[in-house]
């Protein structure tokens, strides 16, 4: 399966297993979503289980919260992460707070799926990576898959989780593990082992990172599309880098990170989001707090620039292998 099919399969499985799961969002019903993630689900499970909503992200999330309070497990789609902001208050002040403020009396067991990231010439309002702001909100979990296998397993885990989960989908790798070499043809997922996705139910636990490449000299922390960029960069740079796919940003798998950096003594953090106050800042802070005495070089951050995502300059903006390799080299030099 490619990542879209894996995500579709996760929802199909959960719709089948749990009558309290239902899916709604803009264009997700009859049409099956602008990225086809819900294709066929309405036809198979019925209009009340997968349906279109008005274009009101705030309403979509609010309604999901109310349904969660009733006892359902809504899975909503925000068509692009760039359009999640109208729902920000309901996410931050409500979904994230219900359990705490009611001392467990009410909860919001909901999942918010949304495609994020650039590299598709979507311009500044179809390319953003807002993950950092959600990691700043206590009460929310933030999950980002990098492969079809993880996407399905993590999404099922998110749907079954009793806390609200922001599930960010790296749209650039829906169809193939794009590694940042935009001048080369992209491999389809079918050529990638992680596209071997079971049809049935399985989970990938939230809060656990994956070491996707073992290495001794340097640790690369990445998630989503950037995992593949990091892997390609390690090859390009011919550096024995350990690449960690975080998979869940919050709660973070700090042990896997610490273990690796204590071993390598060097760390490069890669994300597509704007640099200042991006999640890379938190990762950098945590690594230096936990591994200070093991660090042999400054922690490097390779990120999107602190500008909107400019339509004509995708590849100057996108933190591709060239920039990651440079950062790896800098980290190795010291």
């Amino acid at each position: 399966m490619n990542m879209i099919q894996a995500i579709n399969s996760a929802m199909d499985v959960m719709l089948t297993r749990d009558p309290n799961v239902l899916i709604f969002g803009e264009d997700v019903g009859y049409f099956g979503g602008v990225f086809r993630a819900t294709e066929g689900l309405q036809k198979k499970h019925g209009v009340t289980r997968c349906f279109d909503t008005p274009i009101g992200e705030g309403g979509i999330v609010a309604v999901a919260i109310g349904m969660g309070a009733y006892g359902l497990r809504p899975v909503v789609e925000i068509q692009f992460a760039d359009y999640i902001y109208p729902a920000f208050d309901q996410l931050v002040s409500e979904a994230a707070r219900l359990r705490y403020r009611s001392a467990g009396d009410f909860t919001a067991p909901m999942t918010v799926r949304t495609p994020y990231g650039g590299g598709i010439f979507g311009g500044q309002t179809h390319s953003q990576s807002p993950e950092a702001i959600f990691t700043h909100v206590s009460g929310l979990k933030t999950v980002i898959p990098a492969t079809p296998y993880d996407a399905k397993g993590l999404l099922i885990a998110a749907i079954e989780d009793n806390d609200p989960v922001i599930f960010l989908e790296p749209k650039r790798i829906y169809n193939g593990p794009f590694d940042g070499h935009h001048d080369r043809p992209v491999q389809p997922w079918s050529k990638h082992p992680a596209s071997d996705v079971p049809d049935g139910y399985y989970t990938v636990p939230l809060g656990k990172a994956a070491v996707v490449r073992e290495g001794a000299d340097l640790t690369v922390l990445a998630y989503g599309t950037m995992v593949h960029v990091a892997l390609a960069s390690a090859e390009d740079a011919q550096i024995d880098a350990e690449v960690i796919d975080l998979r869940t940003l919050l709660p973070l798998d700090i042990d896997t990170i610490t273990k690796s950096v204590e071993k390598t003594g060097r760390c490069v953090i890669v994300h597509e989001a704007t640099r200042t106050s991006g999640f890379g800042a938190e990762l950098s802070a945590l690594v230096q707090e936990n591994c200070f005495h093991h660090l042999e070089a400054p922690i490097e951050r390779v990120t999107g620039w602190d500008t909107p995502y400019p339509h004509a300059f995708e590849w100057d903006y996108f933190p591709g292998p060239k920039r990651v390799v440079e950062a790896m080299r800098r980290a190795m030099e010291t």
């Binding site: 239902l22 009340t48 909503t53 008005p54 009101g56 705030g58 309403g59 609010a62 309604v63 999901a64 919260i65 109310g66 349904m67 309070a69 009733y70 006892g71 359902l72 109208p86 208050d89 309901q90 002040s93 409500e94 707070r97 219900l98 359990r99 705490y100 403020r101 009611s102 001392a103 467990g104 009396d105 009410f106 909860t107 206590s138 009460g139 979990k141 989780d161 009793n162 806390d163 809060g207 919050l250 709660p251 973070l252 700090i254």
Partner: protein
């Protein structure tokens, strides 16, 4: 060169400010009983007039008149009266407690008791309520323990919310009372979602929510009405128009140009405008909307026309922005007085019984407060264990919170 006249910016102003004599001359108060009562399944476009009238049952002599008279038995009326009196006594006591420094904050619903209590009476106990901070009457109507409410207000060792919430932000799932939010209006579309869930499950419970006139300006108000309309959600959406939003009068929320009930029209929903100080009218309107919702006809918007007699909260001083005697001048009177007069007119009540009941509720509140204070007040040392501060952020505590709890050494 065009010669067009210059535009000018219009800022709404209330009729009266401090120093002025209260002025409600602009307010039309139709006679009780004159507004028609269509069947609860009437098509919305045939009943738009109800958004511009004012449904009233109790006339000036305390008689219940007209088609909206819910014909409640005296026992129910007496219970309603008692709950309103108890709520007011509770408010008075808690207000004083705040003034005495026993807690940080309090909000009264004085003069608005019927808006929550008559509605609670018309709903079933398991209909889910999504209130604002001024519907404590619902909990009291549902016999939620006063002591527990007080413990929440005091953030003490028996506070069911473990000292986490601002006073009056109650929550009780078992009483179908949703956790109150400090963020205005968020509960309105959530109530719609709950109602959609109930419909989705083939349940028969409906939802109801309350917001204030000022809060109608939030985007969530629009989300609630639109989703309710599109999915025909079984929900009652109440706007408690008490004329004020802290210091700004309802005209700043758009109430000068038309009625809040009429907001329903643009969504194809029925809008009822109701005398919020008339227990019977509030009961009848709620019952009408509940019947409609249970019949799968969808949502109703109810504007409860009332007046915020006290300050917005203990942090507020209304004499800074409105005539202090405005409350006395309010044409729709007081909900407790009016129901009392009605019961007496029915021969089902007397001044003596009223006085006695007043004594009883004050005593009941006093006793409850004594017990509540024995569990501690804000700032005292009888409070939930500090440890609990790190709990319930997530179902399971992640490592970073565990580490932070250790750092605090608790």
């Amino acid at each position: 060169m065009k010669n067009r006249k210059p535009l000018s910016l219009r800022i709404p102003e209330p009729e009266a400010r401090p120093g002025d004599r209260p002025d409600f001359s602009g307010m039309q108060v139709p006679e009780a009983g004159i507004v028609r009562r269509p069947d609860p399944d009437a098509p919305d476009h045939e009943i738009r007039d109800l958004a511009y009238s004012l449904i009233r049952v109790l006339d000036d002599n305390g008689q219940a008149v007209g088609p909206w008279n819910p014909r409640l038995d005296p026992e129910t009326l007496r219970r309603g009266l008692r709950v309103m009196m108890l709520t007011r006594a509770y408010d008075d006591r808690m207000y004083r407690a705040q003034r005495q420094g026993k807690t940080s904050f309090y909000m009264k619903c004085t003069g608005e008791e019927a808006c929550s209590i008559a509605a609670a009476f018309a709903l079933d106990r398991d209909d889910m309520c999504f209130p604002s901070y001024r519907q404590q009457g619902i909990l009291i109507a549902r016999d939620y323990p006063l002591v527990t409410m007080m413990c929440q207000v005091y953030s003490n060792e028996c506070d069911p919310l473990k000292g986490r919430q601002l006073p009056i932000m109650y929550s009780s799932k078992k009483d179908s009372f949703f956790t109150i939010s400090g963020n205005l209006g968020t509960q309105f579309p959530q109530a719609v979602g709950w109602a959609m869930a109930s419909a989705y499950k083939g349940d028969d419970r409906i939802a109801a929510s309350w917001i204030g006139d000022g809060t109608t300006a939030e985007g969530d108000f629009h989300q609630a009405l639109n989703f309710a309309s599109v999915y025909r959600a079984p929900v009652i959406l109440n706007v408690v128009n008490n004329q004020w939003a802290i210091s700004s009068f309802q005209g700043i929320a758009g109430g000068e140009e038309t009625t809040f009930a009429s907001r329903a029209i643009g969504y194809g929903l029925p809008g009822l405008r109701v005398d919020g100080n008339d227990f019977l009218a509030v009961y009848a309107a709620t019952e009408w909307a509940a019947t409609r919702a249970r019949d799968n006809q969808g949502a109703t918007l109810i504007e409860l026309y009332t007046y915020r007699v006290e300050g917005h909260s203990t942090s507020d001083d209304p004499s800074r922005y409105r005539p202090s005697d405005e409350g006395k001048a309010w044409p729709l009177g007081d909900p407790i007085d009016r129901l009392k007069t009605h019961l007496i007119a029915l021969g089902e009540w007397s001044e003596e019984r009223h006085e006695q009941t007043q004594k009883d509720v004050v005593e009941q509140v006093r006793a409850a407060n004594k017990e509540a204070e024995s569990h501690g007040v804000l700032g005292g040392d009888k409070k939930p264990s500090v440890k609990t501060m790190f709990e319930d952020v997530y179902e399971e505590m992640p490592w970073h919170l565990r580490r932070q709890r250790q750092q605090l050494g608790v």
